[in-house]
């Protein structure tokens, strides 16, 4: 790499970082003030680029003024969208348990995606180049796009403006105050509702601006929401939650590292070839993992004060009441004899539901009693699935053995990653689990000769005695029920009690001699094993697996199931898994725009049951019993 290339690649990194910073800054502001993990932030970016495409096609092809006005108008329009979303949807659910708003924004993602498809159609839409900035200038003898130079300037410009707003205006003071202590701000008589609305709209507008500025660089397309949201989260967390300069620094860091990886290309170290260009698949997650391990609050983040109501939010758990236990046993028995009545699709669907129920229950064990939210739970599902598949295909072991060994692979993964994970807390912990999950995913995705690469592995059918649908159904039912019941028992066993104590008050737990961190570590590993069992069963029910079993979407599905059912209940995850799987199956079959309908249903459920479905039932009908 010559000096000239190095400099140019640095500039490329800067240009790439600009848009990313805008999106991340908005996400960081929103999270800081409202504590909403806004999944729809990528969707705001996407809507921004679509609106800007339409406007620039009409007004921005010829005139620079038209172009820049279009960009700003798109940002304002997305801000207005955020304004409406906050007032109509989010304002209704601030009282819900933490993270629940995530579910609402997940519903939004689905609705916005289908709406975008309906409005702008399926084709990629490449906008015009920016008028007056169409060409390239020569830097050290190499051409560099003029527009990218402008982008490089816009990043610090917006950073400066945000700094002024946050430090020199009353609004900014309130935002900073709310980021540090919401309750105090409310106690001082500030109208929180409008503060939240304002911040959400501003955050959305920043995302929209980030999107709009990309019009001359990339086509508007329907994958942008998902692509952008994970990158934005990484930037926010690496920079430190709520820190705008941190987000800027993190965006630069990641942009530069990516550009340098591409610049380095294939490098051989003592005969050992490393493809840095392939590393770009996962490099931001590697950076995040390293940063979080070294600096648990990100680059410029500060350790957050203990949230005031952390201990009181969750009521103590109660075992199931006698007659509910009977009802559960009755349901189990009915499921057991069901294959007498049907051997058709119902069994196929139920197998999926059982597997996802176990997956969701295991995630809930971490989130609820364990107090550790995982954004990367798919890693253990996938490790179990891949472990079993590889043992069958590469080592020739029978499936029966892998039902034991597959979960052990996942457990080992949990033991390894958990050691790092339990050193963090809150969203940082969640994002570290995501980082590890993405690293595992990228290994499965790229190691063609071993894991089958992006195509995955096929030919994983159960042995003859399990080949019939009803036989496999029975095995899945029994294994999942046994595992779920075992996890329930664990919640009430001393181990579970210790975990809950550690969650509710780490200090007091520590004072009575509990090693909280070690218990969390073991819980993390053990839960990995349970998720792994779900993964093994999934693999053999489908006959094949691919890296999707490890992907973010699977982790998100798990979160959605848990939240939908009710995070503060033990039965919730099962109900959530059943409802989501069934809904998706039913809706997808009946309507073309099924994603929008599914998202709409989720949003309705969120508004109707802000404690989750089971949480609602319990609160409404069974105040005394459960």
């Amino acid at each position: 790499m010559t000096l000239a290339t190095f400099v140019i690649q640095l500039l490329n990194g800067l240009a790439g970082a600009s848009s990313l910073f805008l999106v991340a800054a908005g996400l960081s502001l929103i999270f800081g003030v409202t504590r909403i993990v806004n999944f729809a932030h990528g969707s705001f970016f996407m809507v921004g680029i679509y609106i800007a495409y339409t406007l620039t096609e009409s007004f921005g092809r010829g005139s620079a003024l038209g172009f820049w006005a279009s960009v700003l108008a798109a940002a304002v329009a997305v801000g207005a969208l955020g304004f409406v979303v906050e007032i109509l949807l989010l304002r209704r659910i601030y009282k819900a348990p933490e993270l629940f708003q995530l579910l609402a924004t997940f519903g939004l993602v689905l609705v916005i995606k289908d709406a975008t498809l309906a409005i702008w159609g399926p084709e990629d839409l490449l906008g015009p180049r920016a008028p007056g900035l169409r060409g390239a200038v020569s830097i050290l003898g190499r051409p560099f796009p003029e527009y990218d130079l402008v982008l490089i300037a816009i990043g610090p410009l917006v950073l400066g403006l945000l700094w002024l707003v946050l430090n020199r205006t009353r609004f900014g003071v309130l935002v900073r105050a709310a980021t540090q202590d919401r309750d105090m701000v409310a106690a001082l008589g500030v109208n929180q509702a409008w503060l939240f609305t304002g911040v959400f709209a501003l955050g959305a507008a920043l995302a929209g601006l980030g999107g709009a500025l990309q019009v001359p660089r990339e086509p508007a397309q329907l994958f942008l929401d998902i692509t952008v949201i994970s990158d934005a989260f990484v930037v926010v967390v690496v920079g430190g939650l709520g820190s705008i300069p941190g987000a800027f620094l993190a965006a630069l860091l990641i942009g530069e590292i990516k550009a340098l990886c591409i610049g380095l290309g294939d490098v051989s170290f003592g005969g050992f070839e490393i493809s840095f260009s392939k590393l770009t698949l996962v490099v931001e997650f590697i950076v995040m993992a390293i940063v979080l391990v070294v600096r648990p609050w990100g680059l410029l983040g500060r350790p957050g004060g203990e949230p005031r109501h952390a201990a009181a939010t969750e009521p103590p758990l109660r075992p199931l009441h006698g007659y509910l236990k009977l009802a559960a046993a009755g349901l189990g028995a009915a499921l057991l004899v069901l294959p007498v009545a049907t051997d058709g699709y119902v069994l196929v669907l139920l197998i999926d539901i059982f597997v996802f129920a176990l997956f969701a229950v295991s995630l809930h064990f971490l989130m609820g009693p364990g107090g550790m939210v995982s954004f990367g739970h798919a890693a253990y599902f996938g490790l179990g699935a891949y472990g079993a598949a590889l043992l069958v295909l590469r080592a020739g072991l029978p499936m029966e053995t892998t039902i034991v060994l597959g979960p052990l692979v996942a457990l080992a993964g949990g033991l390894l990653f958990g050691w790092f994970v339990v050193r963090l807390s809150g969203v940082y912990l969640a994002m570290l689990t995501l980082a590890f999950a993405q690293i595992v995913w990228s290994v499965a995705f790229q190691w063609d000769s071993f894991t089958g690469g992006s195509n995955g592995l096929i030919g994983l059918w159960p042995p003859a005695w399990l080949a019939s649908k009803s036989a496999f159904y029975h095995v899945t039912l029994i294994l999942c029920v046994v595992a779920i019941v075992a996890l329930r028992h664990l919640v009430f066993a001393p181990f579970g009690a210790v975990l809950r104590a550690g969650r509710d008050s780490p200090l007091r737990a520590d004072a009575i001699g509990i090693d909280v961190r070690r218990h969390q570590w073991f819980a993390f590993a053990l839960i990995g094993g349970f998720a792994g069992l779900a993964g093994v069963l999934h693999a053999f029910s489908k006959g094949s697996i691919s890296p999707e079993t490890l992907a973010i979407a699977r982790s998100v599905d798990g979160l959605v199931m848990v939240l939908l059912g009710g995070v503060q209940t033990l039965t919730g995850p099962v109900v959530g898994a059943a409802v989501l799987t069934w809904l998706q199956d039913e809706i997808a079959r009946r309507v073309e725009f099924w994603r929008a309908i599914l998202g709409g249903v989720i949003i309705l459920l969120v508004i109707a049951f802000p404690q989750g479905i089971v949480g609602f039932i319990r609160g409404r009908f069974m105040r005394e019993v459960t």
Partner: protein, 396 residues
């Protein structure tokens, strides 16, 4: 009176006939929501073919009915949806799929459940070779075939220093591997000076363009498509990467990927694609006319694929003479039929159809990208020798 009796009798016959003549159900699944740019035209294509088949009296005296499902873009859901089609809808065969890993998962299920599967879109070589099975047949020319169609052009250019850029997953990897192998055979002394493998949909185009420029290649082989292609083209044009270089790009001539480029279309690139507005064979003209009449839109390559998939099923049913899996599988082997873009054969050897593609150069016309100097490359000429294929494919 006689007329009345005759009428009643006819009516009764028609009624019983209708009862016995339930439609032949075909299960179709695809990632409609994940790849709408390709799959909406694809759906319109197969819908047209079904309508035409039924207007012509159906097949074996029965109507065709396609039951279509969205597979949500994941193999796990695809398998579940396929099971639903098989068990609840009782379809007689499966068709569809787009992404390679989903195609493979469904093909794997088809072998397990012993049901015919006509894979429409997936390009992976493995679906007919390494992981081929008795029940799976594939329509589109594979990654290998389309790469092989470009290799003669690469050899003709005489360029020795090549840069390669590909999306980092199986399709891009296979295209790259096939290209390097085939070109090295044809053009001894060829050198691959730089390889860039950006993640699918996430190319950092500026950095990739500079990294390629720095290696000073004489020619570039790319298998990018979709948003990655658009970003690469725009950055490359702005930074002057393509000046005086031979550039080959798989798929870039397909309307799905070419049309979004508009005035950014890089002239002179050698691509595989589908110049629909210029193909003047009678069968293609008839297809375009029917398609435009029904949909008031022009066909994309996906439309042809959807149309030809149903055509293949119809031809197989006719040849089999019965809606029976084993007979249909036997009929698919060596099945010949005419599609809008020419005669194809499903090879008995590996179940790959010999569908071809158009190879030509990109040019700018009225601010839009078009293909010029194109010729049709028949798929049958771009497959490896039979002996090699036999070695790749597991014995049945």
């Amino acid at each position: 009176m006689r007329k009345l009796i005759l009428g009643l009798a006819l009516g009764a016959m028609a009624a019983t006939g209708a009862a016995a003549q339930e439609p032949i159900k075909i299960g179709e699944l695809n990632s409609y929501k994940n790849f709408p740019a390709f799959l909406e035209p694809y759906k319109k294509g197969w819908q047209l073919a079904v309508e035409e088949a039924n207007a012509a009296g159906g097949v074996l005296g029965r109507k065709l009915e396609v039951i279509s499902r969205d597979d949500n873009g994941t193999p796990g859901d695809a398998v579940r949806v396929a099971e639903e089609l098989l068990t609840r809808e009782n379809v007689s065969l499966l068709m569809g799929t787009f992404a390679s890993h989903i195609g493979l998962a469904v093909s794997n299920l088809a072998a397990q459940r012993k049901v015919l599967f006509v894979a429409a879109e997936p390009l992976t070589d493995k679906i007919v070779w390494d992981n081929g099975n008795k029940y799976t047949f594939r329509l589109r020319p594979s990654t290998y075939m389309q790469t092989a169609m470009l290799v003669p052009e690469a050899a003709k250019s005489g360029k020795k220093k090549w840069a390669i850029v590909y999306p980092n997953y199986e399709y891009g990897q296979s295209a790259t591997a096939a290209f390097k192998k085939l070109l090295a055979e044809k053009l001894p002394g060829v050198e691959f000076v730089v390889e860039q493998a950006p993640p699918l949909g996430k190319i950092e185009a500026g950095a990739v363009v500079d990294a390629i420029a720095q290696a000073k290649p004489d020619a570039i082989f790319s298998s990018l498509f979709g948003p990655d292609l658009a970003k690469f083209v725009r950055e490359g044009n702005t930074r002057g990467l393509f000046k005086d270089k031979v550039v080959l790009n798989l798929l870039a001539g397909e309307p799905e990927y070419l049309d979004p480029l508009k005035d950014e279309t890089p002239p002179g690139w050698i691509v595989t694609g589908y110049p629909w507005e210029q193909i003047a064979t009678p069968e293609h003209k008839a297809f375009v006319a029917a398609y435009q009449k029904k949909w008031s839109d022009y066909p994309r390559l996906g439309s042809v694929v959807g149309y030809a998939t149903v055509q293949s099923v119809v031809a197989a049913l006719k040849k089999a003479g019965a809606v029976d899996t084993e007979k249909m599988v036997a009929a698919m082997k060596g099945l010949q039929l005419g599609t809008p873009i020419g005669q194809i054969t499903y090879r008995a050897l590996d179940h790959q159809s010999t569908m071809g593609a158009y190879v030509g150069k990109l040019a700018l016309k009225d601010g839009k990208g078009v293909m010029v100097d194109w010729k049709f490359a028949d798929g049958k000429d771009y497959l490896p020798p039979d002996a090699e294929v036999k070695k790749l494919r597991p014995a049945e």
